[in-house]
Amino acid sequence: MSSALVALGINPSGFEMPRFKDLMFDESTSTATLKLEITSPLTRQSITLNELSFTVRNGTRSFTIELKDKVVIEANYTGTLSLSFSSSDPDALRRLVNIIKGVERPVYVEDLQFSDLSIDVNGILITVRDLGEISELFGGKSP
């Protein structure tokens, strides 16, 4: 089975979900950087994350977070992947990073919702209208 997967250009270790490593906000560049431990599922083909954006809503207020630069994951790559995000509202992005890390616990956190996710991976466009509440997405770790 594993040799068949290798012949198909797919990593025989299977599709491992990316593991969270670090999340930080750089005040000087107003950029949030997410670091993930990943293993590329493809052995002969690179994966290019052209676009990743989503909207965070709190009642009537909302702001969009988007990937700053496209990210290329080389074929067979195993290691750390850094994704840099920017937002039209840098202060809201900083607060969101703090909420996800558990540094801040504002009262409105239960009302925060993620929506309008748009991902472009190698020309495959995935859009999700509603992602749900922040507590559903981050489970016990979220406030």
């Binding site: 002969r44 190698n122 020309g123 859009t127």
Partner: protein, 196 residues
């Protein structure tokens, strides 16, 4: 004796077309950004999925046969130019000049038919899937939207498809034009040489 130099040019261009096809397929469809590539060519058809190249044996055999026939026709036209005064030269021309026309017309016909027939087959076998007809344009870009009931996730997934005819195809078309000119030139030369 006046020589039909168009035949020499056609023969040479036929050989160039075959050589060019090995590097650049006549028609290319790219699904996603290089995730799946279909290289359709009368002389070398291949597929690339996740960076791995595949060749379908039966298509490969047909490609080899067609390449041999095409190269032989090209050589026949070159020999016709050199040995134009020989009695058998007419047969060489007759064998050679039609080949590019048949190959180009046949290639386009099979391509158009495939783009219309494959969606019908897919829609008949997998009723949950709805593939539009034609599946992709002959030349240009389109977006294939996967129905959400197939993926069973609350997301909309769409894939960009880009199709293009490469310079190899246009070389083939130029060969057809030259081959027709060769034939016309031969006819004019024959009628001019006829005793009145």
């Amino acid at each position: 004796m006046k020589r039909n130099w168009f035949a020499l040019a056609t023969g040479a261009l036929m050989l160039v077309t075959v050589a060019s096809s090995l590097h650049s397929p006549w028609w290319r469809a790219e699904i996603g950004s290089g995730l799946i590539t279909v290289n359709a060519d009368p002389f070398y058809t291949s597929f690339k999925v996740f960076g791995v190249s595949y060749v379908i044996p039966i298509i490969f055999v047909l490609n080899v046969g067609l390449t041999a026939l095409f190269v032989a026709s090209g050589i026949a036209l070159v020999v016709y130019t050199i040995e134009q005064e020989k009695g058998y030269s007419k047969h060489l021309l007759s064998f050679g000049w039609r080949r590019p026309l048949y190959v180009v017309v046949g290639f386009v016909a099979v391509l158009v038919l495939s783009l219309h027939v494959i969606p019908l087959v897919v829609n008949t076998i997998a009723r949950a899937v709805e593939v539009s007809t034609p599946m992709v344009p002959l030349m240009g870009s389109s977006i294939i939207r996967l129905p959400s009931n197939v993926l069973n996730i609350p997301a909309q997934v769409s894939i960009t498809v880009t199709t293009t005819f490469t310079h190899s195809f246009f070389l083939g078309v130029a060969t057809v034009a030259l081959a027709i000119t060769t034939r016309a030139c031969h006819r004019r030369m024959s009628s001019a040489n006829k005793p009145t």
